[in-house]
């Protein structure tokens, strides 16, 4: 772990943030993400998982705490600056531009480097063949699973070093969930470090190198995917007595 500490790509330390003035959703959360690592953030609803990712990505003001990327302070920088530095983000629900075509969505991915488009689009379409077939189609005519692919594809267009995924499996049928996790693994295998917030704890931990378990806006547990997967405390955090009743 200490080795990772030194060469960590993305570090969040003691982050406090919230939506309503005076009410902190995150109370001193922290995590780190090493190069080429796939890290999952799990926890019960309302634990602040999505909020943490939004705060890291500059979409929500951090009240205190620090975020560094490749050793540089990036706390509260606007999202578009973070994109140019090499961080990609796929939001949970509204993850595509519905009135734009698939190709235009991808184009917006390389908004900052339009010349890269043709080179990157080939890579992304190789990863998500469905996008190549639907290039001219409007995003709002796609299914939830396809939208998730498009969202990830768009975020990958800038060739980010870090990809932040906010509940990529939310609202998808099991078949699409499998596909999404498969793709996440592939993306990570291609060298992109991924920080993934997930609802589906088991599937998430199965593919993650490490995981963080969030509870009430602070870190509850951390460990490798397999450790957490078999940790009764984690299951209890999710299911409470439901787990004990088992």
């Amino acid at each position: 772990m200490s080795e990772q500490d030194e060469q960590a790509l993305l570090v969040a330390e003691r982050v406090f943030a919230g939506y309503v003035p005076g009410v902190d959703v995150l109370c001193g959360c922290g995590l780190l993400l090493g190069p080429r690592e796939l890290v999952g953030v799990i926890g019960p609803n309302g634990a602040g998982k999505s909020t943490l990712v939004k705060a890291i990505f500059g979409l929500l003001r951090i009240r205190s705490g620090m975020v560094t990327f490749k050793g540089k302070d990036v706390t509260n920088l606007p999202a578009h600056t973070l994109v140019s530095r090499g961080i990609g983000y796929v939001p949970q629900r509204q993850n595509v531009f519905p009135t734009l075509t698939v190709e235009e969505n991808l184009r917006m991915g390389t908004y900052l480097r339009p010349k890269e488009f043709s080179r990157r689009v080939a890579t992304v379409e190789e990863l998500f063949p469905v996008l190549a077939q639907r290039r001219a189609q409007k995003a709002n005519s796609m299914s939830g699973g396809e939208r998730q692919m498009l969202g990830m594809g768009r975020a990958l267009m800038m060739e980010p070093e870090v990809l932040l995924l906010d509940e990529p499996s939310a609202g998808l049928s099991p078949r699409f969930q499998d596909q999404v996790f498969e793709r996440v693994k592939e993306i990570n295998a291609s060298g992109v470090a991924i920080l993934m917030v997930e609802q589906n704890a088991r599937r998430c931990l199965q593919i993650c190198h490490r995981g963080y378990v969030l509870d009430q806006g602070g870190n509850a547990y951390t460990g490798t995917g397999t450790e957490l997967l078999h940790d009764d405390k984690v299951i209890e955090l999710y299911l409470g007595t439901l787990a004990r009743a088992r």
Binding site: N45, A170, Q199, N200, R202, R203, Q206, Y238, L242, A243
Partner: protein
């Protein structure tokens, strides 16, 4: 109550002895995504029913449809024997089905007390003509105030009585919203995540409020993620996943139901390709 429910078969859509709310074939889709597809669901009168399920399971959407805040693409539902399918929200509420919201809807620039007073039904002073004649409604207003103060006291909000509701914390808003719903004197309350954001100290008192309501004869249906809460107070648990009801039963039975575990933690996949690989 629990004893009667325990005699039923624990499967989705099972008929209850005395259902208050009956939902039939309700579907609601957003774009291509089917958010709710409920074949049949009955909510037992006088019981506490918990609606559980992971994010995006369609719990809130079902709440919205039934309470008239969203339209269904198909299906019908009856409340207390009367068809309320497609009725506007205020008519549903007047029939005695009152809901709260996941994101609280407090009336910021009204005092906490005024929030409570608003909710009382059958107020003479709410009619434009009579509003101008305080003697007509003042006595009723005093009675309503008394009731509101009782509830505020019960929900430990008396201290904030005359503050703007907008100054309350998230947890206090939840309490206010629940107390406010009770001012309507509903037959059934639908609570959308009543515990979210409420601090642990208040959670216990909130829980006892909910059981008190049931003991007073009210029907309670609530969406909740905290399983301790659900297991502790529910008479019946309905689990939704991907828009459908996947399991129903008393808490202990649902806790053992593999469909519920799968819904929450995600289905277990043990095919070789998905083993975690570590450096």
């Amino acid at each position: 109550m629990r004893a009667e429910l325990a005699k039923l078969s624990f499967e989705p859509g099972v008929a209850k002895p005395d259902p208050l709310l009956v939902v039939d074939g309700v579907t609601r889709a957003f774009g291509g995504l089917v958010a709710v597809h409920v074949e049949h669901l009955e909510i037992e009168r006088g019981a506490i029913t918990a609606l559980i399920g992971p994010n995006g399971a369609g719990k809130s959407t079902l709440f919205n449809v039934v309470s008239g805040f969203d339209r269904a693409d198909s299906g019908s539902w009856t409340f207390d024997g009367a068809p309320v399918t497609g009725r506007s929200a205020h008519r549903v509420a007047r029939r005695g089905l009152v809901r709260t919201f996941q994101l609280t809807k407090t009336l910021s620039r009204l005092s906490v007390l005024e929030n409570m007073l608003l909710a009382a039904n059958g107020q003479r002073g709410e009619r434009l003509g009579l509003a101008l004649l305080p003697p007509v409604w003042l006595r009723q207003e005093r009675e309503i105030k008394r009731r509101a103060d009782e509830l505020l006291d019960r929900f430990r909000l008396s201290r904030m009585r005359d503050e703007y509701a907008g100054t309350l914390s998230g947890g206090q808003r939840k309490l206010l919203e629940m107390a406010r719903a009770l001012m309507v004197r509903p037959t059934m309350v639908m609570l959308d995540e009543p515990m979210a954001g409420v601090n642990p100290a208040l959670t216990q008192s909130l829980l006892s409020h909910i059981t008190d309501l049931r003991d007073e004869g009210m029907t309670v249906c609530f969406v909740e993620h905290d399983m301790d809460v659900v297991m502790g107070i529910s008479d019946w648990v309905v689990c939704m996943a991907e828009g459908e009801v996947v399991a129903e039963g008393p808490p202990h039975a649902v806790a053992k139901n593999p469909a519920v575990i799968d819904a929450y933690l995600g289905k277990q996949h043990d095919e070789p390709g998905t083993e975690p690989d570590h450096e």
